[in-house]
């Protein structure tokens, strides 16, 4: 009996503790979707991240692909004539996709230490990656960023992208809409949201979004990679059938277009023909009427 009472008391204390801690969690995040589907008409997707944060805090949102190693070729002039790929460079421990948004200028709201700790900003990435090959590492890194930005895979906003809306009870709502360009490859992406105050990260929250092909896009993409031979045969059969049908179909299309173009003329001719054929009838009627009058 005593044990049961003690257990009940402990349970209620735990529930109370959890509810208090939840109430204290200033940063609350909601992502509007878990999956961005790539369908036949895909031209990129959008993602809305919103939530609430303490009124004296700023918000930073980072969207990244998992860390991996990437290889690049450095272009150089070949015999002082043509530009071609020459030396290989490996960039180790880097995100293939990196997007950074904030409610204010990151350099103003966060210290360098914190930026390095949480990999926020290109300078922080430069410190964390390893570059194998090539001599001038800083130039290579800036070229790496150029390639990524040109491919719309990297972006670091100057601030004010995350909109803060004053709310009640010492809280601010925040809102961010992210355009995920079609160049962002299929995969799983981490969404990290940081609440920042006094140049320090005071709280963080995580979520995830996937970009995956669905339906016919998924089937074709999978088939081309896993059953290349069958895919090739199908591609050939479709092309052969199209080539076989295209000439007769264009012939039919030509007849239809010709029929449409000449339709008004034919209608006019028909009307004219009917009027002409009506003339003898009129003449005949007139003759009958004249004959009746003469009689």
């Amino acid at each position: 009996m005593m044990r049961a009472k003690l257990f009940k008391t402990l349970l209620s204390a735990l529930v109370l503790l959890l509810s208090v801690s939840a109430a204290n969690a200033a940063l609350k995040v909601h992502v509007d979707k878990e999956l961005i589907p790539i369908d036949a008409f895909y031209k990129g997707g959008s993602l809305t991240i919103n939530g609430s944060v303490d009124s004296n805090s700023d918000v930073i949102v980072k969207i990244t692909s998992p860390i991996e190693n990437e290889s690049f070729m450095v272009k150089a002039k070949f015999y002082h004539l043509f530009w071609m790929n020459k030396d290989k460079v490996d960039i180790k421990k880097v995100n293939s996709v990196y997007m950074l948004y904030s409610s204010n200028d990151i350099d103003r709201i966060l210290s360098d230490n914190e930026k390095s700790k949480y990999l926020l900003g290109y300078d922080a990435i430069r410190q964390s990656v390893g570059i194998n090959g090539g001599s001038d590492k800083d130039t290579l890194f800036s070229e790496f960023i150029k390639v990524k930005e040109a491919g719309k895979l990297y972006s670091a906003s100057e601030g004010n992208k995350v909109i803060l809306i004053p709310s009640t009870k010492g809280k601010n709502s925040f809102w961010l809409t992210v355009k995920m360009p079609y160049q962002v490859p299929i995969g799983s992406y981490n969404i990290e949201v940081y609440a920042v105050s006094n140049k320090m990260v005071i709280e963080k929250a995580f979520d995830e979004v996937k970009i995956e092909p669905v339906g016919v896009v998924s089937q074709i993409s999978d088939m081309s990679m896993t059953h290349g031979g069958l895919y090739g045969l199908l591609a050939i059969i479709i092309a052969l059938a199209t080539g076989y049908m295209v000439t007769p179909m264009l012939g039919i299309a030509k007849k239809i277009v010709f029929a449409i173009i000449t339709a008004p003329k034919r209608i006019l001719d028909n009307i004219g023909g009917q009027q002409l054929s009506a003339i003898p009838l009129l003449k005949e009627t007139n003759n009958i009427q004249k004959g009746e009058r003469n009689a």
Binding site: A40, N85, E143, A235, I238
Partner: protein, 304 residues
């Protein structure tokens, strides 16, 4: 309206791609070439990776050359015997070319090789065509019977000489097989059927009559591009048949319109225009290769 290409992994504007297809089809209808050599560079300009552009270009050529082969077959313009020997060569060449693409891709220089072939060949073929057309315009001074070139004499000494009745010529089978290998390699690297190389070769080297040249060329091209499409799908996984389908619908309509217009234009003027077009493609790619790129890094094949 955009559509997503499942192999190229890129999104394209359907109307723009159809218009490009129609434009290229019109040019091929006007000039009597397959248009493959125009499709690959144009697709590259629109952000399609060169390997996917070349492989999908070959797939598109399957449809275009099926239609042309059927028409020429009905007219009796196909020299089957010559076509089969050219095919043997182009099958070998296609296989070699696909392997070359695989090796160059792993070395990271396939883009450079594709672009370089698009500089060298247009300059050679376009230059030759322009030269021939302009030469014809000059009045003949006197009628001297043509002398056999050293090349012709050398070809006559080759073994396995054979009579090709339909074309009315006699050659060693080594010649069409060798030419086939060259065209097969180019088909795999450039994504072209090889018509713009094959036609001048048949005319100036094999000395075939023009009536049979086009029919035999498209017959041989059909089988070459079928082989290249299959091997590119199987080996390199670079055929995007959605892209090929969009391009071939546009180019079929364009080719039909182009053919109608071609009957109303002067043939010699058309040849000069085609030569200038081929040369301009070459100049554009040459300029790209020689000027400093905006991005000094490029993804390495399988770069992750």
């Amino acid at each position: 309206m955009n559509i997503y290409l499942p192999v190229a992994h890129t999104s394209i504007n359907l109307i723009v791609m159809l218009s490009i297809g129609i434009g290229i089809g019109m040019l091929s209808g006007l000039f009597g070439v397959g248009g493959g050599f125009l499709i690959t560079p144009v697709l590259m300009m629109f952000g399609i990776p060169p390997t996917v552009a070349a492989a999908s270009g070959a797939n598109q050529m399957v449809a275009a050359s099926t239609s042309a082969t059927l028409t020429h077959w009905k007219l009796g313009n196909v020299d089957m015997k010559m076509g089969v020997y050219l095919l043997i060569g182009s099958f070998l060449g296609g296989g070699l070319g696909v392997q070359a693409v695989k090796i160059l891709n792993s070395m990271g220089n396939i883009d450079f090789v594709i672009k370089l072939t698009y500089v060298l060949l247009p300059f050679t073929v376009g230059g030759l065509m322009l030269g021939e057309t302009l030469k014809k315009k000059k009045p003949a001074v006197d009628h001297v019977p043509p002398r056999k070139s050293a090349f012709s004499k050398l070809m006559e000494t080759l073994p396995f000489q054979m009579e090709f009745v339909k074309s009315g010529v006699r050659h060693s089978i080594i010649l069409p097989v060798g030419i086939g290998i060259l065209v097969g390699v180019l088909a795999a690297i450039m994504g072209v059927g090889g018509g713009f190389i094959m036609v001048p070769i048949m005319l100036y080297i094999l000395k075939m009559p023009m009536r049979v040249i086009i029919g035999t060329s498209v017959f041989q091209i059909l089988f070459t591009v079928i082989e290249v499409t299959f091997l590119q799908s199987y080996t390199n996984h670079t055929v995007d048949f959605v892209l090929a389908l969009v391009m071939l619908i546009g180019s079929s309509v364009g080719a039909y319109v182009g053919t109608i217009f071609s009957t109303r234009l002067n043939t010699e003027q058309l040849k000069v225009l085609l030569a200038l077009l081929i040369l301009s493609v070459g100049f554009k790619i040459l300029f790209e290769l020689m000027s400093e790129p905006t991005l000094l890094l490029a993804y390495s094949a399988g770069g992750k």
